[in-house]
Amino acid sequence: MGEAGERAGSPRRQLLRKAESLAYWLVGAPLVASLPASLAYRVACWRGDWTSRSWPEKRSEMMDNLHQVLGDELTLNEAERLTRDLFRFRSCEVIDVMRLRGRARSLARLVEIRGREHLQAALAGGRGAILCTAHYGSHQSAFSLLHASGIPLTTMGRWDWKYDAGVSSVERRFWNLVFARRVLRHRQRPHIEPWPGRVQVAAQAAAALRANEVVTISSDAAPLHAERARAIEMPFLGRQARLMPGVITLAQLTGAPILVAFVHRSPDYQHQVLEISPPVPIDGQTKTAFGRCAAAIEAAIRTSPAHWNFWFEAEVLARLGVLPAAPPIGTAALSRQPADG
């Protein structure tokens, strides 16, 4: 078996993982999410621990990723704890999505929104607001919650599972059914997907901002091959990473202020805090201005590495330039969870 095959595990184990993931999203999580929160998230953590134990190849890949990027900052025990939390968080995020039903009140009770006043002050300027964020924590559910709380919000980002050649149409329909449908119910406009060739996407974001709405952009997205010429290299997680500074260009063209937002899960796994910053200065050259956003993202990752979803995706880390070499081929789509990137 090649290295990629070793990382993915035997075909039988891959199939079992897919079946388990399918059952969790379709049946397990909807049922578990209706339990009292303390019990629901405890069950999600057990499931995360089970996934971690039953997927040693992925666990070791993630430990490698953590060690290669964070290096000597991490002891072996810390790396093991972070890896365990990554699996637990991922499992809890499914419960978050399920708790978005109705007006999302069952999730709203568990998530404190800090810095809402910064967002409201930004919107008072009449030019909309951009929330610069990352693939960090339960960000899609948190933004659904923000919209459900009365902030007109639209998300922008790529959902790889919709376009990845390795994902079958059945799998696409599955993720649409269990994930996209639930989070997109709480959006002002349809999700904006910036794929190469879609020339209207920035204008769609600008239209939302002109209507004094909020647009979220994950600025840690790895550039695609076709976008490399527009990526800028800058220090990020100890290396010269390639990042897309589109958030700055959009802000400069529309006059919308940029605020950064991250959602953190508490040590009890059930409560979360969505923290929104005051506006970030966007003066100076694009690289300088974007450097402030990148620094905020890096600070969030270093403060709590287990919240960053990309530790699961060595291929994405390599495209970003925070891993030195191209990693083995990724694993099957149903073995991962949808993320925009």
Partner: protein
């Protein structure tokens, strides 16, 4: 008009010097010269320079395929604006 648009794209948007000088018929989308953000920059420039508001529904590849098609689109919009002004007057 062609010279103004060509000059703006050449100066502000083209990142690969090997694509210069830019022909008025050079494909802007297929060559990657225009992406969604640079198109937005161009639209802002067009609004400021020619006082033409580009409707979001008009942001289609056919109108922005080359300098020539951009100018053809702009002329149609300017003509439409003049027609509406004329019918009002």
């Amino acid at each position: 008009m062609e010279a103004v648009i060509n000059d703006y794209i050449s100066r502000e948007i083209v990142q690969d010097p090997s694509l210069l000088p830019l022909g008025n018929e050079t494909p802007l989308l297929e060559t990657g010269i225009l992406d969604s953000l640079s198109l937005l920059r161009l639209v802002v420039f067009i609004q400021e320079r020619f006082d033409v508001i580009v409707d979001d529904l008009d942001l289609v590849p056919e109108h922005f395929a080359s300098v020539d098609t951009i100018c053809a689109y702009l002329r149609s919009q300017i003509g439409k604006g003049a027609g509406q002004a004329g019918s009002r007057g």
